[in-house]
Subunit: 335 residues, 2 copies
């Protein structure tokens, strides 16, 4: 046999009786996904058997299962923690005064990291968010990949506020969708900054900031219950270069000015100060300093390449919650 799920030793014959139990009778459209996932993960049936039961073929079942894993319909969690990670969490808590620290083991392949930190974030948010909370959200791969891990729920007065403008160029996977998609999961109202993150120049930024809708959103952002932010670096595959938000020259110029990364698209130096640079004057986003009004700031970011930026962001934001990976945690713990 070749399946990851346990199958008890007995081998009841499929007996080709496609008679369905009342329970798993066909329902509406995407019940199919639930049903297939259920049969596979809960009842440990093979994909072939499932194909028989739902009247389809393996390929489709396979596709559905892949999608189910991707969109969070099935969630796989390792509940126990590595002792080293637990140690690091304790160290960081006492050294920096964090209320909560979550340290995940750094994966061997760095591309997995945003996903892993993201799902940890999602799980944390799911149990942290209560009725009528207002939640401010940033951006980024880390945050985006946390969405599937946010548990779907009934409306309960939660509101989600996007802390930054969006992308103008709407790419297929728009990271600034994050707020909207998170709001969808939470059945929350969603307030978005209906403008690009980077205004053409400081003047138009000023104009937009005073715009009615935008001003309201930014105002809400000043009295948040939770603020979730990530940090960015200036590496070649940062969002800025990947989405063409900034030119190569601008990046260089920022580096010269001492920038080592960004928080909410505001570029900061290694001491956690927002640097003085023209690009920073064009940003349509809540200023990191304004997050002080939030009752709980959550910083979720990891990876060796972001170490300095994370260090700086901690100084700047003084978050209550930190979610990161063990490599970063090890280094920060000995600072």
């Amino acid at each position: 046999m070749g399946r990851a799920m346990t199958k008890s030793t007995n081998d009841r014959e499929p007996t080709s009786e496609s008679v369905e139990t009342v329970s798993i009778g066909s329902g509406t459209a995407d019940d199919l996904k639930t049903r297939v996932s259920w049969l596979y993960y809960m009842e440990s049936k093979t994909q072939d058997e499932i194909a028989q039961i739902v009247g389809s073929n393996r390929s489709k079942v396979l596709r559905i299962l892949a999608q189910a894993r991707a969109d969070g319909t099935v969630q796989i969690r390792v509940t126990s923690r590595l002792s080293r990670c637990v140690e690091l969490e304790a160290e960081l808590k006492s050294r920096y005064g964090f209320e909560t620290v979550i340290v995940v083991p750094t994966p061997q392949d760095p591309v997995d990291l945003p996903g892993i930190i993201g799902s940890e974030l999602g799980a944390y948010l799911s149990q942290r968010i209560g009725p009528d909370m207002s939640i401010g959200l940033g951006w980024g791969r880390t945050l985006t990949s946390g969405i599937p891990a946010i548990e779907q729920r009934q409306p309960s007065g939660v509101s989600v506020i996007s802390l930054l403008g969006g992308l103008t160029k709407v790419s297929r996977v728009n990271p600034s969708d994050f707020a909207w998609r998170a709001a969808d999961r939470l059945a929350a109202e969603c307030y978005m900054v209906a403008a690009p993150v980077f205004a053409p120049d400081a003047a138009s930024r000023e104009a937009l900031m005073n715009h009615h809708g935008i001003a309201e959103v930014l105002d809400r952002a000043r009295r948040l219950d939770l603020a979730v932010v990530s940090v960015g670096d200036l590496s070649p595959d940062s969002i800025f270069t990947r989405y063409g938000l900034l030119t190569h020259e601008e990046i260089i110029s920022l580096e010269r000015a001492g920038a080592i990364g960004d928080v909410l698209c505001r570029f900061i130096d290694s001491e956690g100060n927002v640097i003085d640079h023209p690009v920073n004057d064009r940003v349509l986003a809540v200023h990191p300093a304004d997050l002080g009004g939030a009752r709980e700031v959550i910083l979720a970011s990891g990876g060796w390449s972001k170490l300095t930026a994370i260090r700086a962001a901690i100084k700047l934001l003084e978050p209550k919650v930190l979610i990161t990976d063990s490599v970063v945690a090890e280094r920060i713990a000995v600072d």
Copy 2:
């Protein structure tokens, strides 16, 4: 390929570099399980790769993974619900006034059912139990298999009270361990009835009931926050016959007296009344009627064979929470 986990399209070579990331460095004893589970489910490595990394062989990795799934170290959940189940939940809520109803699809193989209902129960309890709560627990396969799904937590003043005596014959899998194992998960204090469920006769039962320790436990059971019970039937593979708690003659006699099942080892008729029978006078357990003092009674049980018993138990206990399967739910909904 033959694995249940998605593997992204790229195939980075294993490169035989057994160099470990700092993060996943070796730790204490059962870190191994965590580590293996992590590598498998989070980093989508093959069992071979993992064997290399942790310095072992496939077989062991395989076994560790199986154990990890069994003991809840890795949890796989299907988060979406079948629409039919949601409908049934709503119907039952309005018809019987339950506060919460959870209906799971009936599996094709009935042996899976206790496990499925159990994990749903475990998940519910995990999010329901708060600091300093006192929780009364019954017994049974359903309840036992819920343990892995109870999230491990830090001590917070929770106390667990066993609502029944134990088995004298200690078999390998003692279902009356349930309370103790649940307490372990919850880092809770555990109060057990240190006596067999069935006393030899009514007189010795009386004597035991007045015993200091036992009386205290039974007293605690009268002021519970949560009471979790299941129901039993009189089928040939009920606990009573399987563990030889009652003789065949006694079962027959109980049936003649109108018994259709039991709640906390008290036999009841189809109207939900505890019947008048010698066996019921020998039970060392909290009386179902005494559960009225609990702030929330949770009834978790399912399966066609238990339908009548569940009906009766609902009348008797009037629980606030019902966890069952769709076959039972369908029937109860049209009562």
